[in-house]
Symmetry: C2
Subunit: 271 residues, 2 copies
């Protein structure tokens, strides 16, 4: 992270000097939203999709963004130029600001950070194992900074020899903390939970794929027993096969044909 | 706030210079715990109760506290000496620390801040109005920094001309975001929700009062219709009568006799 710059509001600062006053409502009350996108070969991928969601999250949480879209793009490109990290992750964070009383939002602080990110092409063949947990994220449609439950569960996930947690709400499937979840049914339908989840950008791209029976649906925990394949999607993971949930294999327990097809198509999209 | 000092880990800094790096997991992922106590005439009230809860919250969330109890008391007293604010609120915050990957907790940052606080003796006679909302806080037994839902609801509370929100989970009463909730039944029983709420220090003191039929119970939203009185409790509010919930008066809509009695006893406790 040496010599990497970040932007705080309109100012570039060395990341090692990038600080917020502790009166910020993110620190006081966990109040903030963010988005995360990747640059590939020096190009931000799906920038407008991410900015759409960022501004939507901000508006939903009553946090005005001082920078309009053109200004924010300029800030992002300015940071990319300073940092010269062609393969990276860029995070936009908007906090509740320096609150006078530690509770009422003030003028939000806008943070833009960048870190090297190289996509791991070996992850697909290994796949992942999930452990389920009954939990409904609050305000799930918004990309808030709230990962309290997910981070709290990390030791439990490790104990269960799993790679991540899959939330369900009273047996109705939801998502992973940082990824959407899909199953492939015995009829080759590709289903992802319709409601009460974050609408991921990769999820959105897959829902628009032609030639596949892909759709949003209500999926129950019990449906996993009959699923032929399962996978998760996210900006950093692209598509990862889920081989095992709560110790039981999904399908034959190896990466599936339709998952592999979707993976190739997603990779091609990001360039 | 001029010339007020705060402590970050073991160092006193002017509050206007008290900052955390933006890699802190509170800013990145809303991960942290805190506690809040008052000083009255230069004396911390219920200090050991608050420290018990602070260390319990920290341990529950897998956040080691670098300072043991004696060291933390010394830090608090050192800050009190520097600030010379005899009537104040002191907040202890423990964050997830400067995370390398923005997700895995690191060595926590310990913040101690102090601000003048004068208890408002006029608030009792005015009482408060509440609006209900179906919501279960995550990890409710821990005093985390998560107030996402509460702050998100502020405009809604104002629209409903209420002073605060009362959470229920599928009609089972819980708490306010920063206060516990009690009702007084037609039989003069004083009841407070038993489970899935933060165990407030004022609540704990009231549960130990003699000469009252006070106990933890399951309370339904519908029980409000027959309640004779209702009140909330917290460190800053002590005891406040709830005169109205969702636009319907509680009892006769004025501060009740048992509530007033408990208020006087709580005031006497804090000295």
């Amino acid at each position: 992270m040496n010599n990497t710059y970040a932007a705080i509001n309109n100012t570039f600062v060395a990341e090692t000097e990038a600080r917020l006053l502790i009166s910020d409502l993110a620190i006081q009350r966990g109040y903030g939203i963010f988005d995360y996108l990747r640059t590939v070969n020096g190009q931000p991928a799906f920038l407008d999709d991410h900015l759409d969601r960022f501004y939507h999250s901000a508006a939903f949480m009553n946090l005005p963004v001082q920078a309009d879209r053109a200004q924010l793009k300029q800030l992002i490109h300015g940071l990319m130029e300073k940092n010269n990290l062609p393969h990276s992750g860029i995070r936009l964070t908007l906090t509740g600001g320096y609150s006078e009383n530690g509770y009422t939002p003030a003028q939000p602080n806008l943070l833009v950070t960048q870190a090297p990110f190289i996509f791991d092409k070996n992850a697909f063949s290994k796949g992942i194992r999930l452990v389920t947990h009954n939990f409904q994220r609050q305000l799930p449609q918004v990309k808030t900074i709230d990962y309290l439950q997910a981070i709290y569960l990390q030791p439990h996930i490790a104990e269960q020899q799993a790679d991540d947690v899959l939330y369900h709400h009273n047996n109705s499937l939801r998502e992973c903390p940082r990824a959407n979840f899909f199953i492939v049914t015995a009829n080759d339908e590709v289903l992802t939970p319709a409601h009460h989840v974050l609408k991921g950008i990769t999820r959105k791209k897959i829902l628009a794929f032609s030639g596949l029976k892909v759709k949003e649906a209500d999926i129950q925990l019990a449906d996993l027993a009959n699923a032929r394949e399962a996978f998760i999607t996210s900006t950093t993971k692209e598509v990862l096969p889920v081989l095992n949930v709560d110790g039981r294999p999904v399908g034959n327990g190896t990466p599936g044909r339709i998952t592999a097809d979707i993976y190739e198509r997603v990779l091609a999209l990001r360039g």
